[in-house]
């Protein structure tokens, strides 16, 4: 199933998982130790993240490690960044306008 990348970051647990595996590749068991939820819940999040192509499986011996697809994350970040920029720029302008309103009122 193909999913879009925003599903990956919509859920707080998935954002936390992304944050953890950004530091180092981890197995589902190692990840589960960081959360109160079940190992099954972690697996479900990992499945979604894999389908979003945010993470990639990296089998090492009997263990499956999950690691970040940094190119995909960069894509999201750049995309979000454009929106944040729009609002940053817009509100910086608003700051200037508010300064002039203050002057008018004095």
């Amino acid at each position: 199933m193909r999913r879009d990348v925003f599903q990956a970051i919509a859920d707080p647990s998935r954002r936390a998982i992304i944050g953890l595996i950004a530091l180092q590749a981890m197995t589902p068991n190692a990840l589960a130790e960081h959360f109160d939820t079940s190992r099954q819940a972690i697996s479900k999040h990992l499945k979604i993240l894999t389908e979003c192509q945010i993470v990639k499986q990296d089998p090492q011996g009997r263990e499956i490690y999950y690691k970040l697809e940094t190119a995909k994350m960069k894509e999201i970040d750049e995309w979000l960044e454009q929106f944040r920029q729009i609002w940053e720029n817009r509100f910086n302008e608003l700051d200037q306008v508010l300064l002039t309103i203050k002057t008018i009122e004095k």
């Binding site: 925003f6 970040d77 929106f83 609002w87 302008e93 608003l94 309103i101």
Partner: protein, 167 residues
């Protein structure tokens, strides 16, 4: 760059909303005025180098703002805001749409639902903007329609500030 308050920006995929929060160092009546008076709104609504040009604005429930985002080459992207709810100095809501210069709505593009909340906190005012879209791919289209070229310049300039601001 001045020591400005940062925008708290997030996307809620489950609800198809974009959430923006920002603190302004100004009384609520001034911040409110900047959103509802066309002369003030036009001064900040379009991010540089684009300019906002309001053709008509009737800020009341059932009223409409018709405006253009004018690019550096003179290109115009027209849009409307149809005000649906107004609680002075507290909240207003509107439906936006792309349109032509006479306000005829571009039907093949879904409208989004805007909610703007104002809260006073000491000497500052907090503004919360929530934009509800039918789906998030609309957002990409919005960028492509209006802002892409205009922002490339400022993007490069400001990118450094946000390098540390990862998800």
């Amino acid at each position: 760059m001045k020591n400005n308050e940062l925008v708290d920006f997030s996307i809620d995929k489950e609800n198809n909303t974009v959430n923006v929060k920002r603190v302004f160092a100004a009384p609520i009546s001034n911040v409110w005025a900047a959103w509802i008076e066309r002369e003030l709104l036009d001064q900040w609504w379009a991010p540089k180098p684009w300019k906002s040009k309001t053709k008509s604005m009737d800020f009341k429930v059932g009223g409409r703002r018709l405006y253009a985002m004018v690019g550096p080459e003179g290109e115009e992207h027209w849009a409307i805001a149809d005000y649906t709810v107004i609680s002075p100095k507290t909240n207003f809501k509107y439906l936006d749409a792309f349109c032509d210069s006479d306000g005829n709505i571009t039907e093949d593009f879904p409208r989004s639902d805007w909610n703007v909340d104002f809260t006073e906190s000491g000497n500052t005012t907090i503004v919360y903007v929530t934009i509800k879209h039918e789906n998030l791919s609309d957002l990409e289209t919005i960028i492509e329609m209006g802002f892409k070229e205009g922002f490339t310049m400022t993007l490069n300039e400001l990118a450094n500030i946000f390098l540390s601001n990862q998800i």
